[in-house]
């Protein structure tokens, strides 16, 4: 609360910013013929899940993308290396962004409304699978953040890296039916961004798929791979800035 005006504006702006993607989805859907196999009510559910998921990731890890580049450029990253905990743990735990909590609430409310609007009866196994994918999704997101931090250490000064990360993540903002062939395969399995929004929504819509299992396994594998790359990069790290 040291910067109170920034805090108040931050809560408002984060919520508004998070509503952008669902709004873009709505505008595309209403001004064009929409997406195949998705009704308007189902797209609303997808958008609500998108809002909910964005709130979770921004609240838990929102500050990381901003802080890591500054730390590496100014040299204050070196301080993390002398602490008695792994540097990556320190980075990940310092990512908490209080401003996005409102987005989680808004997303949860929109999610419940969409489910009621669609008349879906949610079974206990769906709730279990839903939370399972939330956890797997978080692990996969963490693996991408670790890769992002690794790139920051390697490149040091790249202002667009955050934009690029956000654009890559934006693949998950659209249902799989948008993509065809190889790209759908990438979306569902190779770089399974579908675990964040698409698969949880499919679970709620009673549309299970074998790709869900593959995506879970790949997500866990990518987490280990990202940690290996991070450790390799740390060994080659030479301080920059200061």
């Amino acid at each position: 609360m040291e910067f109170r005006a920034d805090f108040i504006l931050g809560v408002f702006s984060t919520f508004t910013f998070s509503c952008t993607i669902p709004l873009v989805q709505f505008l595309i859907y209403t001004r064009t013929s929409g997406y195949p196999d998705w009704s308007f009510a189902q797209i609303l559910l997808f958008s609500a899940m998108l809002l909910f998921w964005s709130g979770i990731t921004e609240t838990a890890f929102g500050e990381i993308k901003y802080s890591i580049q500054d730390k590496v450029k100014t040299g204050s990253f070196d301080r993390l290396l002398v602490l008695p905990y792994p540097a990556i743990i320190m980075i990940l735990t310092k990512g908490f962004n209080y401003r996005s909590f409102g987005t989680i609430l808004a997303g949860a409310i929109a999610l419940v409304y969409s489910i009621l609007n669609l008349g879906i009866v949610v079974q206990w196994w769906q709730i279990l699978l839903f939370f399972c994918f939330l956890v797997i999704g978080l692990l996969f997101y963490i693996s991408l953040l670790i890769l992002y931090c690794t790139l920051c250490l390697a490149i040091v000064n790249m202002m667009r890296l955050k934009d690029i990360f956000d654009k890559l993540v934006s693949f998950s903002f659209y249902p799989a039916e948008i993509f065809g062939g190889v790209f759908k395969f990438f979306y569902l399995i190779i770089i399974p961004v579908a675990v964040w929004i698409y698969f949880p929504v499919q679970i709620l819509l009673h549309r299970l798929d074998i790709y869900m299992l593959y995506a879970m396994l790949i997500s866990i594998l990518l987490l280990f791979l990202s940690l290996v790359l991070w450790n390799l990069r740390i060994k080659k790290y030479t301080s920059a800035g200061g």
Partner: protein, 267 residues
């Protein structure tokens, strides 16, 4: 002018040291284009439409390619750098240098854009050409687009500098930066072409300078009907120039007001 050109050269040398950072875009931008191609090919095929809101499928895809170019050629991070200098106390050093802070950050942004033009824009443009050939594109429309990106960059810089100067008052402006990013992306047409917005919103945006940053230059790149002659081009340049003068005067006045609130934080 000599001082400005020397500081631009200085920053170019700094960016030359981190030149590999610019090459990342060459890999990532085509991947983003694939996403755009997938989305709009599906939308156009699903609706069995050849034209949506005046855009053919190829033009719609290239609109979003123009948005990628906008990030390379126009977007400036001066607000963030200014804010960080204020918070860290580096502003003291900036203020005693024989160059105005605004000129310093402008030269830094200009150097970044010069680098980005050769190492981000040109390679991405040629890769996009190979992926989706723009049958509508002509040399004239391309040159007009490049010429319009110069005032687009200046406009974006002035807006960023205005936001960054607020750091003297608020100290931390991260939230304000988010508001600016969200607002600018929406009203400049970086999220979606402004044609997707309701009529009332389009009319309001028409009175603002933001569409000259992304949306209108993109329409020149797409060689849309209204961009055919020189009349509209010169009118856009003139209006963009007027907005640059207005924003420049605003920046100078705002700077004079805000600098009085400066107290060094940290050293």
């Amino acid at each position: 002018m000599k001082l400005l050109s020397e500081t631009i050269r200085l920053h170019l040398k700094v960016y030359l040291y981190y030149r590999w950072a610019f090459f990342i875009s060459i890999i990532i931008d085509p991947v983003m284009l694939v996403l755009i191609i997938s989305i709009f090919t599906t939308i156009y095929t699903n609706g069995q439409q050849e034209i949506i809101l005046g855009y053919s499928c190829t033009q719609m895809i290239w609109y979003f390619a123009a948005v990628r170019f906008y990030y390379a050629l126009a977007v400036s991070y001066s607000d963030n750098e200014l804010s960080q200098d204020i918070l860290s106390g580096n502003m003291i050093v900036r203020l005693i240098k024989p160059i105005h802070v605004m000129k310093w950050f402008f030269s830094k942004s200009a150097a970044n854009k010069i680098f980005a033009f050769f190492l981000e824009f040109l390679p991405s443009f040629f890769i996009f050409l190979m992926i989706v050939y723009p049958d509508f594109l002509t040399w004239l429309s391309f040159i007009k687009y490049l010429l319009l990106m110069i005032p687009a960059f200046i406009l974006f810089f002035l807006i960023s500098f205005l936001i960054g100067t607020t750091g003297f008052l608020l100290k931390s402006i991260s939230a304000l930066q988010m508001v600016k990013a969200f607002f600018l992306q929406f009203v400049s047409g970086a999220f979606l072409p402004i044609d997707f917005l309701p009529e009332t919103a389009r009319r309001i945006i028409g009175y603002m300078p933001f569409q000259y940053i992304c949306y209108i230059p993109a329409r020149f790149l797409l060689n849309m009907p209204e961009t055919a002659g020189w009349g509209y081009f010169l009118r856009v340049l003139a209006v963009g120039g007027i907005w640059i003068v207005i924003l420049y005067i605003l920046c100078r006045i705002y700077w004079l007001l805000m600098i009085k609130k400066f107290t060094a934080v940290g050293c």
